[in-house]
């Protein structure tokens, strides 16, 4: 959650705000970013605009959650601070809406759209606005008219016909909202949440210090620290209260299950709908980007699996992640929070995953059918109770020994083979029925042809997919236990470390070719290497190696360290150690990506300037929404051209954001 705001990142945030919310808030935000915390008067002085302008700009920013503000109770002076985290997330709005649409249905997407458009909203006014806009076909500006987007409506399972739905009542909308809160996509907003974390902390600190009028000494210091941390967490968790309250009904109840399977497709009417409204009208809501990021991460991981393993496996993985993300509230858990144990991440069982698996997924495809003797059941069913240590990418040797040592079930036998044998036996005891099922693929096929697969068979096949994922070199899934036909978990940190490298590798390969990538991979595996040994290790010509290395050094991917062998620092008697600094490369790549995004947005501005006349025509209220009928041929074609350019530019920005997400946020 915390990242540096570089110059390019600041520029990007400002451009995003300008694109969506207009020029005045963006100007104020720019100054807030460049000059830090300020009061209204300071802002007016720095920006040399009127106080009235500053206040109006700030009001919009507060409305959209883009600034923190804090009023000192003693001096009643108000300080504003830019919230770059929210500002950057503007770029993800489209993706989040798409994700919500896909996972929770059209209605949920409309609700999130409403909340997003107005920053924060009361439950009552969401319902009103929803009912008012319902029935009207949603503003399908581009979807239907843009040729590049034309296919959207065809292969969209949920876009079929919005009009066919029966009339929606306020109850149902509230139900949908409650569901979204239970998931965590919407969160109740309290004034405290508009204060920056530092302000909250210092306020708590000040409050608690009143108990020690004579100051802290000795042991009290530590006590005080923990009390401050606990109080701050308590304040933060206060907004979780409503979520907890709604969770049993909407996530774990029977209604939730039915809804999940129906995928928001008219699957309305669960028990809660008959009761009183589960939330009060006056509760304020806003979009919780942290949870949205979890959803986006799931989507991204599915894509990765799709690329690496296959489509069906990706679907199974998607179901697994959906089941798992119920237990996750953010991508990168707070390290100071001791309620989360990094060694014991939340797990899901096979049965839970199966509930999330869509009925349309054909789990019988996607895996080859090797003969039984080709499968090593021992290693396939291997259980890893502890997360892999995150030091290297892909060396398997360490984990097993470590796991078996710390395994409480193991009878003090640290021998690796014995440990594996133990697991094997344990599995045989519990799942006698499934091991033959795994090997006897022929039987399964026959039953499939005859009478269709039973639920148990489907579950077994799904399990095979998960095992395939667990076995792959990238740690997509960890088989962490045997309860309920297997427990599964994902070590996101380890996984994303690898995926980050994958992304970096792609960039390096594109820029410096295969040789460059090979050299960097060697450096990454071996650490710092002398430039004399490098050519032999890389099996390359000395000159070529030097050329490539210098090229990469100039681009900032590598660096060299000089170690003189004696006192007079002579070049000939100096070791030159090449090394690859992961952290620096990451920040550098990120900054370059921000820059690219900035350029795309600037380009978009130029393009819209070029087509200013046609755009001002399109903005007219009588033309909006029915461009095709109202505009004449030439004008419409020109408008189409603009839409094409716009979708390309915005599409590229969102692709770049995918990269940023992987490198920074997930």
């Amino acid at each position: 959650m915390s990242w540096q705001v570089t110059k390019n990142a600041a520029e990007l945030c400002v451009l995003l705000i300008r694109e969506l919310y207009g020029q005045l808030p963006s100007r104020i935000f720019e100054i807030l970013l460049s000059s830090g915390r300020s009061t209204v008067q300071q802002l007016a002085r720095i920006s040399s605009t009127g106080l009235r302008h500053v206040r109006h700009g700030l009001a919009v920013l507060v409305q959209q959650n883009l600034v923190y503000h804090y009023t000192d109770s003693d001096t009643s002076r108000t300080i504003f601070e830019a919230n770059h985290y929210y500002a950057y997330n503007i770029v993800r709005n489209g993706k989040i809406l798409d994700c919500v649409h896909r996972n929770y249905g059209e209605d949920a997407k409309r609700i999130v759209h409403l909340v997003m458009a107005s920053g924060h909203m009361r439950v009552g006014s969401i319902v009103d606005a929803y009912l008012k806009s319902h029935g009207k076909i949603p503003n399908d500006v581009n979807g239907s008219s843009d040729p590049s987007n034309g296919h959207v409506s065809h292969d969209d399972p949920f876009d079929v016909a919005a009009e066919e739905k029966p009339q929606v009542s306020g109850h149902q909308v509230v139900d949908d909202i409650a569901h979204l809160i239970a998931i965590g996509i919407l969160e109740p907003l309290s004034p405290k949440m508009l204060q920056s974390p530092e302000d909250i902390k210092s306020e708590v600190d000040k409050d608690l210090m009143k108990a020690y009028p004579s100051g802290l000494r000795g042991k009290q210091k530590g006590e005080h620290e923990t009390r401050v941390v606990n109080t701050v967490r308590e304040i933060r968790n206060r907004s979780q209260h409503l979520k907890m309250q709604l969770e049993p009904t909407y996530l774990y109840g029977s209604g939730a299950k039915r809804r999940k399977l129906a995928n928001g497709d008219g699957g309305r009417g669960f028990s809660a709908a008959n009761d009183d409204d589960p939330i009060e009208d006056t509760v304020l809501l806003r979009v919780n980007y942290e949870k949205c990021l979890v959803e986006l991460r799931n989507q991204r991981l599915c894509q990765f699996v799709d690329d690496h393993v296959g489509y069906t496996t990706a679907q199974v993985y998607g179901a697994m992640l959906a089941a798992l993300s119920k237990k996750l509230s953010c991508c990168q858990p707070d390290p100071t929070d001791d309620s989360i144990d990094p060694m014991n991440p939340p797990t899901v069982t096979t049965i839970e995953i199966f509930e999330y698996l869509k009925a349309s997924v054909d789990v019988f495809g996607g895996i080859g059918k090797p003969s039984p003797e080709q499968i090593n059941v021992t290693s396939a069913e291997k259980v890893e109770r502890l997360p892999p240590s995150g030091d290297g990418d892909g060396d398997e040797g360490g984990y097993d020994a470590q796991n078996s040592i710390e395994d409480p079930d193991n009878d003090a036998d640290v021998d690796m083979e014995a440990a594996n044998g133990y697991y094997l036996n344990g599995n045989h005891g519990g799942d006698d029925g499934e091991v033959p099922g795994q090997n006897g693929t022929k039987d399964t096929k026959v039953t499939f042809a005859d009478k269709g697969p039973t639920k148990a068979e489907r579950m077994q096949r799904m399990r095979q997919h998960l095992l395939v994922l667990a076995e792959s070199g990238i740690h997509f899934v960890r088989h962490s236990g045997t309860r309920d036909q297997g427990e599964w978990t994902v070590d996101f940190e380890v996984l994303f470390r690898q995926l980050r490298f994958l992304e970096l590798d792609t960039i390096i390969e594109d820029t410096f070719g295969r040789e460059g990538l090979r050299l960097i991979k060697i450096l990454r595996a071996k650490g710092k290497i002398d430039d004399k040994t490098l050519p032999t290790m890389a099996l390359m010509q000395k000159g070529d190696v030097h050329m490539k290395m210098v090229e990469m050094e100039l681009a900032g991917f590598l660096d060299v360290q000089e170690v003189p062998r004696d006192n007079n620092r002579v070049a000939a008697r100096t070791l030159f150690l090449w090394f690859f600094d992961e952290h620096r490369t990451l920040t550098r790549t990120l900054d370059n990506t921000y820059k690219a995004m900035v350029r795309h947005l600037q380009r978009l501005e130029v393009e819209s300037q070029k087509k200013k006349n046609i755009l001002s025509l399109v903005e007219r209220t009588d033309v909006q929404g029915m461009e095709e009928e109202k505009l004449n041929g030439d004008a419409f074609n020109e408008y189409q051209q603009f839409l094409d350019i716009q979708s390309r530019l915005l599409g590229q920005v969102s692709k770049l954001d995918d990269l940023v997400s992987v490198l920074r946020d997930f």
């Binding site: 206040r55 507060v62 409305q63 759209h113 210098v550 002579v570 033309v623």
Partner: protein
Amino acid sequence: MSGRGGRGGGRGGRGGARGGRGNLPWDYDPAGVQEQPKERYPKTYKPPRASNFPLSTAEARAVTYFVQLRRDFHNSTLYTHKHLAPDAAGTSSSLTDPVCRAYGQQQANARYGVKSKATVDPFLSVPMYSHKFVHEARTLPDFRGREVHHELFPENLWNTIDGTDDGGKAAAKASKRGLKRKSMAAGGDLEEDDEDDEDVVGRHKRRGPETDAERRRRIEEAAQGKDEEGENLAEEDPEEEEDELSQEDDDFEEDEDGGDYDAEQYFDGGDDDYGDEEGGGESAMDF
């Protein structure tokens, strides 16, 4: 440097002492790198073309949703329009050069046009039928008629979100009538001594830090209606009751100054402004 290098090599007994400048890692062979500008892009630069990577269904949908969201916000009253000053410095070249180079805040501000009588296009400002379909270009967001939640905003923005932020015109008027008022409020921080803020800030200062309960009560009051607040305000400054009262009444009328035709206001508007750019345009910007 090279001499010493040779000596060092000799002392070490190594044959073929290469000078200081031999096969060193930074000895970058320029043959491989284009130093001079060339007609074409360097070979290493292969920009991927957008047409080779069409958007996937999900991406296209995401873009569509973003555009929808943008349009919805642009149609709301909080949006402030982007380009208002076609002739302002910086925008004329922006077609070819999107990066506006503005030196100093003045120039940066000049890019955003002023909406005043001076900048009106005489050919288009005549009321036309089609104008009813066109959104008026806004320089300030309009909070009137919106549901706002006072508890989320700091107090000095409450006037703004209530739609009664008049840019300190009323306060300035008051100060012209009686200078004593100003001197009284200026007792506190100099920075806070700014036009209209003195209302709010000054009042609370006199009262001292308030408790939570008080704050909550005030929030409720503000939510209930502004009339009460107006009365409170008047009560607290008994000596200026007359002034305040008439002023507040003015403020809360729908059409506070009779537009361009308010003869009394006509020349008043210009001299109390904070920055030049608002000068004279003040009344045109109130809507």
